[in-house]
Amino acid sequence: MAEAGTVETHGADAHDAHHEQSFWSKYIFSTDHKMIAMQYMFTGIVMALIGGYMSYAFRMQLAFPGETVPGYGMVSQGEYNALVTNHGTIMIFWVAMPMLIAAFGNYLIPLMIGADDMVFPRINRLSYQIFLISAVVLIASLFVPGGGFGGAWTAYPPLSSSAEYSLTPLGSTLWLVAVALEFVAFLLGGINFITTLMNARAPGMKMHDIPMVLWMIVIASILFMASVGPLIAGAVMLFMDQVVGTGYFDPGRGGDPILWQHLFWFFGHPEVYVVLLPAMGIVADIICTFSRKKLFNYKLILYTAFATGIISFFVWAHHQFVAGIDPRMANVFTITTLIISIPIAEMIFLYIATLYGGSIRLATPMLWALSFIAEFLIGGITGIFLGASGSDIYFHDTYFVLAHFHYTFFPIAIIGFFAGITYWFPKMFGKMMNETLGKIHFWGTIIGFNAIFIPLFILGTAGQHRRIYNYQNFPDLAGLQDLRVFATAALLVMLVFQAVFLFNFVYSMFKGKPAGKNPWKANTLEWTAESPPPHGNWPELPNCYRGPYEYSVPGREEDYWPQDVPPDTAPAE
C-alpha cells in the first residue's frame, strides 16, 4: 500500500496553527468535521423553521377555513397540497436526517473515537455542498411557475408523473431532483461515517467500547445505503416519466403504479429506522450520564438495534395494505410488522433498566431524553393498530396515522435534536446553555406537542381523512371543528416557545457560563478535548482503555471513569 501522504504523529493542529485560515476556508469551504457538522445543523434549523412555518399556514387554514392566514395570505387548494407535501418532505429529509445523522454524526464520530477528523474530509465537504444545493433546489421548487409539488411526500404516480394531473410540472421535477441530490449527499456522508467508525478508532477502542450513539448513527447509515437503491431507481423512472414521457407507472403502456409504491416504501420503511436509531443513541448516552449508571446490557441493545435494522426490511408493504396489494402479502406484512415492535419495546425496557436505581439528575438534556422515551412509546403503541391490516382498513389515511407518525417523528427529530444539542452545546461552543430557559422551552414544547396531536388521534378515530383542505364540506366531521382549532392554537403556543430556545442558543453562545472540558462529568472521549475542540481535536490523540459507560464503578472515588485514563495500578473493584 504505497502511502504518499505525510503521516503525522501529532494532530494537524500544530501544523495548521501556522496557516491563518481565511474566512472562506475556515467557515465556508472547511473540511473540518466540526465545521461541516455546524453547517448541516444550521441548515437543518433553517429548514425546520421553514417546515414549521408551512405547518402553521396549513393548520390555520384547517382551523379557520377560507380566512387569510396572518403572515402568509390566503391558502388556496393547490397551495394547501404543496404546503402539506413540502412540510413532510422537508421535515424528514432536510431536518431529521441532517440534524440527527449528518450534524451529530459528523461532530461526534471523530471526537468520540479519538480521531482528528473523518477519514475523507474532502468528500465530507462535498457531501455538504451537494446537500446545500439540494436544499436550494427544493426551496426553488416552491417559487416556480405552477407552484410547488403537491402530490404528498410519497409522490405516488400518476399524480406525480403527469403534469396533466399534478398541475405543477416544474415544481414536481425540481422536488424530485432535490430529493435525489439529498440521497446522493447522504450516501457520500454515510460512507464516510461507516469507514471512519470501522477503521479510525483510537488504539484500544474495541467494538464494544464504542459509544452507543455512534453505533446507532452508523447502523442508520448502513440501513440508508442498503434501502435507498430501489428508490433511486424509482426516482430515475419517475423523472423519465415527468420529463421524457415514458410510461413506467402507466398500466396502459406496460407499467404499474404499484411498482412505485413498492420502490418507495422498500426505502420508506427502513428510512424511519434510519432516523429513529440515532435519536435512540443520543438518548442512550444522555441517560447514562445523568443517571450515573452504565448502559444496561450494551451488547443486547446493540444486537437489538441490528435486528431492528434487518427486520425493518421485511415490513414495508404495511404502508400499502389498502393500495391494492395481494391480501396474502398483506398477511405476511402484518405479521412482520407486529414482530418489529418487539425489539424496539425491548430497547425501551433496557433504557428503563438503565435508569432504575440510578442517581438521576434532571438537567435539561435528561428531561428531553426521558420525554423521548415516553412520547415515542405512545407513537410505537399506536403503530400496532396500523400494523394490523384489519384495523388499518379503517385507520389508513386518517388523522390517526398522522398522529401516530408525529408521535414517532417528533420525538425522533425534534426531541432527539433538543436532547443532543442541550447535551453537547457546551462542547460545541464552550459555554453552558441557561438551564432555566432550557426547562421553560422544554415544558412549553412538550405540553404544546401533546396538545396538538391528541386531538388528532380523536379526529382520526372519528374518520377524518388526511390531505383535505376544508373539513366543513364533510357534515359528519364539521362538528369537530373545535378540536381542529384547539390543535392549531396549541401549535401556535408551541411555535412561540421555540423562540425561547433560539434566544437561549444564540445568547449562550456568546454570554453563557464557560463550560470547561467536561461539565457533565461524562466518560466518552469528546469530553477530554477542549471546548470547543481545535482543528485536529487534540494535540495528541488519546488512547482508549475501557468502555464508554463506566459510571459509579464500585471502589472508585469518582463516579465516572473517562475512557482515556490509563488503568491505575490499584484494583478498581
Binding site: P251, G252, R253, G254, D256, H262, I325, D326, P327, R328
Partner: protein, 144 residues
C-alpha cells in the same frame, strides 16, 4: 511494497490473461446459446429453458470469475463478501415482495384489468402484423 501482499499477486500477468480467455469463451457460449438451444431441446427441457440456463448461468459464472479473480474477493477479508451477499439478498427480498403485485396481474380478489387489456391489445397487434408476414413494429405510442 509487494512483500506483504497476498500471494495471489505472485500469479503474475499470465494468470489474469488466462481468466480473461475463459471469460471470452463463456461469452461466445452465451451468444451461441439461443442459436443451438432449439437443437438441444428434448423432453421437458425446452429451448427457452436451455437459453436461460446458458445466458444467466454463464453470466453468474462470469461475474464470479471477475469478482473473485479481478476484484480479488477470493483473498479479501470475508466481511466484504458478506456485505455484498447481503445486498444481493435484499434485492431478492425486494423482488419477492413486489413481484406478486407487479409481475402478476391477478391474485386473491384482485385483477389488474388495465394491464391485461394492454397485453391483449399488444399481442393482437403483433399477431395481426405477423399474419401480414411482416415484423411487428412494437411501436406502442399509446397517447393518454
Amino acid at each position: 511494497m509487494a512483500e506483504h501482499q497476498d500471494h495471489a499477486d505472485d500469479h503474475g500477468q499470465a494468470f489474469y490473461v488466462k481468466i480473461w480467455a475463459i471469460l471470452l469463451v463463456l461469452l461466445i457460449l452465451s451468444i451461441l446459446g439461443p442459436i443451438v438451444a432449439p437443437h438441444m431441446a428434448f423432453g421437458f427441457l425446452e429451448a427457452w429453458m436451455i437459453t436461460m440456463m446458458t445466458a444467466f448461468g454463464i453470466a453468474v459464472v462470469k461475474a464470479y470469475l471477475v469478482a473473485a479473480n479481478f476484484m480479488h474477493l477470493n483473498v479479501e477479508k470475508k466481511y466484504i463478501s458478506y456485505l455484498l451477499a447481503t445486498m444481493l439478498m435484499l434485492m431478492l427480498l425486494f423482488f419477492a415482495g413486489t413481484a406478486p403485485d407487479v409481475m402478476e396481474h391477478k391474485g386473491q380478489n384482485w385483477e389488474n384489468v388495465a394491464a391485461e387489456a394492454e397485453i391483449e391489445r399488444a399481442l393482437e397487434a403483433q399477431g395481426a402484423a405477423d399474419a401480414h408476414g411482416e415484423h411487428a413494429e412494437g411501436h406502442e405510442d399509446a397517447a393518454h
